[in-house]
């Protein structure tokens, strides 16, 4: 037995070191750092108690970033849910021409975050943009606060669409065929079958997708950097973009650590709730 201990520990060593060094340690550092007074050069000047949190919540820009993040979430989440549900429902039965639609719906997965952000920047660039031409509108998409956050939400849908679609589609296709056939023999129309048989069956997967979408939405930052750099008039500064500005641009270590701590807890809670729900679903399903 002793020999196996050594061998197992050696095999686990790389994973353990990496998990501790790049996951646990930085989390602990952020938590401790959020209660310390740290200079811009990274020198610890003493305990700060709750000062970092107090100054964070009295910072108007941070409060605004919370508002922007939740506005983003409020536009993104319904839009994303409706679009992936429609796409999956319309292509859930395998037919020959449906396969082509499947490929098209997977395309967003092949396009990287920075590529799609640059593409969106061009589609919505200025009043002569292609978006205005197609919609016959005359909106300054990325130059007006209300429009810019909407474009950001649309971009968010594109980032998640491919993977969400795959998950939902395979969930639809895993439904026991005999359930659907029995319903149609009983005379249920396809709409009734969808609402009473199929949708309840995919509900667990849909809830996983929604939880992941919420987590992704509150953590959004990279697309903001490329699409709007927080503008116009700081109207698209999200919480995590603000974290990036604080930690990397302004050198405010203390408040940066406070944001990191709060967001890590929030994201962790969302993931844990999701895991608990899935366990619950599985035990009752």
């Amino acid at each position: 037995m002793k020999r196996q201990n050594t061998k197992a520990y050696l095999l686990l060593l790389p994973s353990m070191i990496l998990a501790v060094l790049f996951s646990f340690l930085p989390l602990i550092q952020s938590i401790i750092g959020s209660f310390l007074n740290v200079s811009q050069q990274g020198k610890v000047l003493g305990a700060a108690g709750l000062d970092n949190y107090i100054s964070l919540f009295s910072d108007k820009a941070f409060i605004n970033s919370i508002g922007h993040t939740f506005l983003f979430l409020a536009i993104f989440l319904p839009l994303n849910t409706v679009l992936i549900l429609l796409a999956a429902i319309l292509t859930r039965r395998k037919r020959r021409h449906i396969a082509i639609a499947e490929y098209v719906f997977l395309i967003p997965m092949a396009v990287s975050l920075s590529s799609i952000s640059l593409i969106f920047r061009e589609i919505f660039r200025g009043r002569v943009s292609i978006a205005n031409r197609i919609l016959s509108t005359d909106l300054p998409w990325l130059e007006s606060p209300g429009c810019a956050i909407f474009v950001l939400a649309l971009l968010g849908v594109f980032l998640d669409f491919g993977i969400d679609y795959i998950l939902l589609l395979s969930s639809f296709r895993k439904i026991d065929r005999s359930l659907i056939e029995a319903a149609s023999i009983d005379g249920a129309g396809s709409l009734r079958t969808l609402f009473y048989i199929e949708l309840p069956e995919v509900k667990p997967m849909l809830s996983v997708i929604i939880f992941l979408a919420i987590k992704d939405a509150i953590m959004i930052s990279a697309p903001v950097m490329i699409l709007t750099a927080g503008g116009p008039f700081r109207s698209t500064e999200t919480i995590m973009y603000y974290y990036y500005l604080e930690a990397f641009r302004s050198g405010n270590r203390g408040t940066g650590s406070s944001i990191a701590t709060l967001m890590a807890i929030l994201a962790g809670l969302i993931m844990a709730t999701m895991a608990a729900r899935r366990r619950h679903d599985r035990e009752n399903g």
């Binding site: 037995m1 196996q4 201990n5 197992a8 520990y9 095999l11 686990l12 790389p14 998990a19 790049f22 996951s23 930085p26 989390l27 952020s30 990274g42 679009l83 429609l86 796409a87 639609a101 490929y103 098209v104 719906f105 997977l106 395309i107 967003p108 997965m109 092949a110 990287s112 975050l113 920075s114 799609i116 952000s117 640059l118 593409i119 061009e122 589609i123 002569v128 292609i130 031409r133 993977i163 795959i166 998950l167 395979s170 969930s171 396809s190 996983v208 953590m219 930052s221 990279a222 490329i226 974290y243 990036y244 930690a247 940066g256 650590s257 990191a260 967001m263 994201a267 962790g268 844990a272």
Partner: protein, 269 residues
């Protein structure tokens, strides 16, 4: 009958929305500078010249960006697979004390969002003197709990009797892993490798933070800084985007079914 038509109409509408950005990017990769600055926006280019592609490839950094991305992504995919295989083998085939707590410690990292750890991780990498190096880009995301979980699931479903028989035959663990275990689970291993490669190749934020020399930038960071847009040459930027997107579109067409399977399994498990 009306339902059918409405359904078809809705599907086509949705397809158009989803396909539009990439279709537009493809068209824009052929645009002349005039096409971009015209008083009304085009969808079709005025001519299908390859000038933009020539210009992107002729850029002194673009090929270097791609090389950096490919190298770091391949190393990361290789290391993540290796590290996960080693750990998964220990958890599924060896008896040792502390197995359960150690597994929990590794899996808990799934609940810690890496995006909230950017600054301390940056400090660690800077402290190790790894800024502007491939290792600085690679190291923090080598370990991934979800990849470990996928391989763990595959190894668990393997018949333990084969392992016992191999041991009685006197073949060592190394030989068993290389000649029996890995070939039996190769589709999952390949899925982990490919998934890691794609994620690494597409990552933006981390490589942006840990590199500052143009020669060390990865392509996802680099394309936002190519400078074509500033000089009014948007077309070359779209050509650069299309050239890094095309390989993934091809992978998607070839591996669609396998990928769908692997992805849905990895979430469902």
């Amino acid at each position: 009958m009306i339902g059918r038509t409405a359904e078809r109409f809705l599907l086509i509408f949705l397809l158009a929305i989803i396909a539009f950005p990439i279709a537009y990017a493809l068209m824009a990769s052929f645009f002349s500078p005039m096409d971009f600055t015209d008083s009304y926006a085009h969808f079709l280019p005025s001519s299908f010249s390859l000038d933009n592609y020539r210009m992107a490839l002729g850029n002194r950094y673009y090929p270097q960006f791609i090389a950096n991305s490919v190298i770091t992504s391949v190393i990361q995919a290789f290391l993540r697979s290796a590290v996960s295989i080693a750990a998964a083998f220990a958890f599924t085939h060896l008896e040792f004390s502390g197995s359960k707590p150690m597994l929990i410690v590794l899996l808990v990292t799934m609940f810690i969002p890496p995006d909230a750890l950017l600054y301390p991780n940056y400090s660690t990498i800077a402290g190790m003197g790894l800024l502007d190096t491939y290792w600085g880009i690679i190291l923090p995301s080598v370990f991934s709990a979800s990849s470990l979980l996928m391989i763990l699931g595959a190894f668990r479903s393997c018949d333990k009797n084969i392992y016992e028989a191999a041991r009685i035959d006197g073949s060592g663990d190394g030989r068993y892993v290389m000649q029996i275990l890995l070939p039996m689970t190769r589709s999952i291993i390949a899925a982990v490798f490919l998934q890691t490669f794609i994620t690494a190749f597409n990552s933006y934020l981390w490589p942006l933070l840990v590199t500052s020399r143009m020669g060390m930038r990865t392509v996802q960071v680099g394309i936002t800084m190519l400078g074509f847009a500033e000089s009014g040459e948007f077309g070359a930027q779209f050509a650069a985007i299309m050239m890094i997107t095309l390989p993934f579109l091809i992978i998607l067409v070839i591996a669609r079914r396998k990928m769908m399977q692997a992805l849905s399994d990895s979430i469902i498990n």
